[in-house]
């Protein structure tokens, strides 16, 4: 049966296809699937085959994607899809109670449709709004700081009105005196909206004419001299990454902005994307000019639909001002930016997984070499930079490398956006000079300390993949090197505070479950090891742990660590190894009485 696709939708589809090179129109597949699912509610046989025909693919190529990316569904869901975040920060804030209340209220289990066809409840992994947890999304709307009662009220209103109200962006919080806001400086200025007019009024896009008057190599040198390190997680020097780009290959160079923020505990890019989109666009255009790219893609995670819309609008505004497009500001430089939406896969945060996903495939990270700088997107030299990294570029060009190096400490120049979630009084995002604050200051001063009556048990310093610090390790300065010396990493800047009510075994299970769910399944140790750890921890949590399970858990993690194609292996192994090592007595207590008889 042929699929009846409305003419305007097909026109939209055809327009999106033009965002990609003609021989790579497959890259449009995630966009197409989003659009078809919006129209038809699900992606069945007809949608798969229509998409395959449209893009010159085999149906298997499309089916592979629908089952890989959790935002897509082959089975019809309720009209309102409730997605409750179950990952660590939200669990610490009580998402379990919300889920139970919703299931009871609607009388359905997970992933079932209510009999009136209105609702389906699912759990989802980290929605990158950890500071306002627990959170859930209903279709495209994000609901923050939930309680079971609030969740119930939302359902009641939807039922009563048959509609979902658009949720406003939360109002930015004024900076703490110990903060140093550079990237977030405009946010709390009066009436600031992040629009083109507001941004230009506050001095935005000044770096663009300046950069276009410079030689590209001089910009690369400036960025290199600034010593700015990548803000995505690995902390690789940005200028050096740019200088690795293969030159003179005769192929186009691509710049990809990694906006697939999904490391549990991290929600900094969300702020930059939603509140300050032009800063990012300015950074991208300048960076494109520096590296010789004429097309950039912003790969934004699928669960940020408003972010994608805000970016699309900002891109239109920039094009109208000739900050984008042909012959930018009359300087002879052409540059286009396209927004590319993901569909719910943490692995797309890994740069080569992202590239594969952008190309319209399962997000299987690539084996290296070759590195993206040589063979990247569409087989061309590619640089992939994080949102925060690129947002720094206009400031470096405006103020110079020397100014940037004044900020922070050697090895960790500039400011950093960190995100705090968990048991503190004032969770949220903070920007400050790297190395100038300790973890203790951050928790006790900026965040106002722990919630009443709670004591600190541990801190995860850089997203849930980074080894936990114990309560007595928090006098560490917040910069790349100090955290590395403390045996962990600054990672993505997602700080999760664990208090004395936290069951470490349960938190380890929560984290293990995340990585098992997000393992792409490509390489053996991660594919098999992550689920094994999750099952083992489930069993231990249910009282069936055996004394030997403590060492076994550590050893399984160790067998993943360093053996995989991409860093998800370490991301899954490190937290487990750290939790088991640092809180061993809790694991031993949990594994005292079981005999392993119950299987999971």
């Amino acid at each position: 049966m042929a699929l009846n696709v409305a003419a305007d939708l097909e026109k939209h589809v055809d327009e999106i296809v033009t965002h990609y090179p003609p021989q790579h129109k497959r890259a449009a597949v995630l966009w197409l699937l989003h659009l078809l699912q919006e129209q038809f509610g699900h992606l069945g046989k007809e949608q798969v085959e229509w998409t395959a025909t449209k893009l010159g693919l085999q149906p298997i190529n499309v089916w592979e994607l629908i089952t890989f990316y959790p935002m897509f569904t082959a089975k019809p869901r309720g009209k309102f899809h409730i997605k409750v975040c179950r990952t660590l920060s939200c669990e610490l804030c009580g998402c379990g109670g919300i889920l139970e209340r919703l299931k009871k209220k609607l009388g359905v289990g997970l992933d079932e449709k209510t009999s009136d066809g209105l609702f389906t409840i699912s759990t989802v992994e980290c929605l990158a709004a950890c500071g306002t947890g627990p959170v859930m999304m209903v279709n495209d709307e994000l609901f923050e700081n939930l309680t079971p009662d609030a969740a119930e009220t939302i359902i009641d209103r939807v039922k009563a009105t048959g509609k979902l109200e658009q949720q406003p962006l939360p109002k930015p919080v004024a900076p703490h005196p110990l903060e140093k806001r550079v990237l977030l400086a405009n946010l709390t200025k009066p009436n600031y909206t992040g629009s083109m007019d507001d941004y230009v009024r506050e001095g935005g896009y000044r770096s663009l004419p300046k950069a276009l008057g410079m030689k590209p190599d001089d910009i690369v040198a400036e960025v290199k001299n600034s010593e700015v390190r990548g803000r995505g997680g690995a902390g690789f020097p940005c200028g050096m990454k740019w200088s690795f780009l293969a030159k003179g290959t005769g192929k186009p160079i691509y710049l990809v902005c990694n906006a697939d923020e999904s490391e549990p505990g991290t929600f900094k890019d969300r702020q930059l994307l939603h509140y300050e989109p032009h800063q990012l666009i300015e950074g991208i255009v300048v960076s494109c000019y520096a590296v010789g790219a004429h097309v950039a893609y912003i790969y934004i995670r699928g669960e940020m639909p408003y972010g994608a819309k805000i970016l699309a609008r900002a891109i239109e505004e920039a094009r109208a001002k000739n900050f984008l497009g042909k012959n930018i500001l009359g300087k002879g430089f052409d540059c286009e930016i396209y927004v590319h939406r993901g569909a719910g896969a943490y692995i797309c945060g890994e740069e080569t997984g992202l590239i594969e996903s952008l190309e319209g495939k399962r997000a299987y990270p690539r084996i290296k070499p070759p590195f993206p700088a040589v063979v990247g997107l569409f087989g061309c030299p590619t640089v992939v930079n994080n949102v925060e990294t690129l947002s720094n570029i206009p400031h470096i060009i405006n103020n110079g490398a020397a100014w940037f190096k004044e900020l922070g400490v050697p090895g960790s120049r500039g400011t950093r956006l960190v995100c705090v979630s968990g048991a503190v009084k004032r969770p949220g995002y903070y920007e400050f000079e790297m190395g100038k604050l300790t973890m203790r200051q951050l928790i006790e001063d900026l965040c106002g300390g722990l919630k009443e009556g709670r004591k600190l048990k541990g801190v995860i310093p850089g997203g849930s993949s980074m080894p936990v610090l114990k309560a007595d390790q928090i006098d560490v300065a917040l910069d790349f090197e100090s955290l590395r010396k403390a045996g962990t990493m600054a990672g993505s800047g997602g700080i999760i505070v664990l208090d004395d009510t936290v069951d470490i075994v349960q938190s380890t299970l929560n984290v293990a479950q995340f990585y098992a769910h997000e393992s792409c399944g490509q390489c053996t140790p991660c594919r098999e090891g992550t689920l094994w750890m999750e099952k083992m921890l489930h069993r231990i949590r249910q009282g069936h742990g055996r004394p030997e399970d403590v060492d076994l858990l550590w050893d399984v993690a160790d067998n993943i660590d360093g053996k995989t194609i991409c860093p998800l292996g370490e991301a899954a192994a490190w937290p487990v190894k750290a939790f088991v090592t640092k809180y061993r007595s809790e694991f031993e207590a949990a594994c005292k009485n079981g005999n392993g008889s119950k299987k999971h």
Binding site: C520, L531, L552, N559, K599, H600
Partner: protein
């Protein structure tokens, strides 16, 4: 090898060509690096992680030259992580450890991971005995599993087209089959659905593999996930004898292995030969072997001699004597004899056939039946003769091949030809009608299975299939390749060269052919392209011949015969 790269693998000095990976380089010095997903003819996937090795490089000083340690040897720096051998290419001065404690621990870890969700159903698995999981478990497995959780369950019986069955629980997701179908067979039809530990190999319903190369994925599947419907549940592989052979189904001459037990061939698989078929073969050739095991095979020579046309079995000496008697009577009457040979025979058989019918009996109307089908751009040749070049070299063919068959038909019709000797061809399907065959005074047929022609024959001499004899084929690219006998022929059926040799003897042309080697030696004396060769020299990989243009012998009677035809 120009400019070999020098490196050290497990303490052994190795010299490898530039660009070679460490799995292949290790082979050069006799070191096996275990692997699952790597396949030399496919793109690198790097997903199984079994080939992790420890790779070190010389530390370079400020002068970019290797720094020397106190022992005067270069200081070697090892990375913090192991590297996969399949995606690491050799480099000058590289030091590789494939058996260090770190490497062994990693392999043991990978091995354990591969088995945690595997059903461990070796007792009922067809792959048992040739399973890489079993093999490397011996080296890196634990005696007992540490995994006590519930395993992931997946589809057990997915049809991958009509020829292949998939058990997803056994699949280790190495993607060899996915890559083969896409990269070699040219059909992008296999893929993985779901994700993480639930990842499942499948094809889109209604779009199953349907190329002529599908069954190669069963060969390259390192585990028991993909099994051939033709072979599954038939035999334990360790009971099977492996015999190196050549596929007789087209002029490509894919190198094969015949897997047999107690006189029955159970399967045919490709054998590596980069000059011919790499490591693949087509399904058409692979599955066309059942005729070997046909219960209707001729088991003895027979003569049609009863009043009602009944057939009687003969002993070989008796068959030779009776036929010899009839043929001796035809001395000097070569013009009344025609012969049709077969391009499916070995070169040795064709050589003796030619000797018998042309040289001894003086027949001139001699030809072969051409066999043509649809070819493809890969292995399947449109010429379905495994030994057309052998037939041409031996002089058994007309030019063009088969052009003399209508001439023979006409000559039978006109009564000029009274004796016909046919080897292995059902000529009733190829231009010589049954009623014409019925007119012959003597019809001698050498064949393996009954057909219209053997029904009419006065003598049927039971022959052997390619699986039952030694000898050679010359493929379409002039490569001389060797057949080996995998099984004995049924009853007293025997390789045709013996039958031809016996008849030559009977007719007083003793070739002293006691073994196939004697026939080959005789060929090397007569047929220039074979000069200096013997069966041993051909080896398992064959040798390329310089055939040049072989001029097929003309039949002096041909032109007049054609005239006769025209008149008739």
């Amino acid at each position: 090898m120009t400019d070999p790269v020098k490196l050290t693998i497990d303490g052994k000095e190795a010299a490898a060509p530039k660009g070679m990976n460490l799995i292949e380089a290790a082979k050069l010095v006799g070191v096996e690096v275990p692997h699952y997903c790597y396949h030399p003819k496919l793109t690198i996937a790097g997903n199984c992680r079994m080939c992790l090795v420890d790779v070190g490089m010389p530390k370079l000083g400020a002068d970019k030259k290797p720094e020397l340690g106190p022992d005067g040897k270069p200081v070697i720096l090892f990375g913090p992580k192991l590297s996969i051998g399949c995606n690491t290419t050799v480099a000058e001065g590289m030091v590789v450890h494939t058996r260090s404690a770190k490497v062994i621990k990693a392999r043991e870890g990978v091995m354990e991971f591969l088995l945690v969700n595997h059903p461990l159903d070796c007792p009922i698995c067809d792959q048992a005995g040739e399973c890489r999981l079993q093999e490397f478990s011996v080296d890196y497995g634990k005696g007992q599993s540490r995994f006590i959780e519930e395993k992931v369950h997946k589809p057990k019986k997915t049809e991958i087209g009509p020829k292949i069955m998939l058990d997803d629980e056994r699949c280790i997701l190495c993607s060899r089959c996915v890559r083969f179908m896409k990269e070699v067979a040219g059909q992008d039809c296999l893929g993985f659905v779901e994700r993480g530990s639930y990842s499942t190999l499948t094809c889109y319903p209604g779009m199953e593999p349907n190329t002529n190369y599908d069954l190669n994925i069963v060969d390259i599947c390192p585990v028991g996930a993909l099994t051939s419907n033709d072979f599954r549940f038939k035999q334990r592989v360790w009971f099977l004898k492996e015999t190196k052979s050549i596929c007789p189904n087209c002029a490509t001459g894919c190198n094969t292995v015949l897997w047999s037990r107690e006189g029955v061939v159970h399967r045919q698989t490709p054998r590596d030969n980069d000059a011919v078929n790499q490591c693949w073969m087509c399904d058409h050739g692979r599955l066309h072997y059942q005729f070997i095991n046909d219960p209707n095979r001729f088991v003895a020579p027979t003569v049609k001699s009863g009043a009602m046309g009944e057939r009687f079995n003969l002993t070989w000496p008796e068959a030779t004597r009776q036929i010899g008697e009839r043929l001796k009577a035809l001395k000097g009457k070569g013009a009344t004899i025609a012969a049709i040979g077969t391009t499916r025979a070995t070169t040795e058989e064709l050589f003796l056939f030619n000797k018998l019918v042309r040289e001894v009996l003086g027949a001139e109307l001699v030809d072969c039946v051409p066999h043509v089908g649809e070819g493809d751009k890969f292995l399947l040749n449109a010429d379905r003769s495994p030994n057309m070049n052998g037939a041409k070299l031996a002089g058994v063919t007309a030019d063009p091949v088969g052009s003399r068959i209508p001439v023979i038909a006409e000559a039978i019709k006109s009564g000029r030809i009274k004796t016909l000797i046919i080897h292995g061809e059902n000529v009733a399907k190829h231009g010589i009608a049954e009623d014409l065959l019925g007119k012959l005074e003597l019809l001698v047929v050498i064949d393996t299975l009954p057909n219209k022609v053997t029904e009419l024959a006065h003598f049927v001499l039971a022959g052997a299939t390619f699986a039952e004899k030694r000898g050679t084929f010359i493929n379409g690219k002039a490569r001389l390749q060797r057949l080996n006998a995998a099984i004995p022929s049924p009853g007293i059926a025997r390789p045709e060269w013996q039958t031809f040799a016996a008849l030559l003897n009977e007719l007083g042309a003793d070739g002293k052919y006691l073994a196939i080697e004697d026939v080959f030696a005789d060929m090397t004396r007569t047929l220039a392209p074979l000069a200096g060769l013997n069966l041993s020299k051909i080896g398992d990989q064959g040798v390329e011949l310089k055939l040049g243009t072989v001029t097929p012998p003309a039949a002096s009677a041909e032109k007049p015969a054609a005239t006769v035809e025209a008149k008739a």
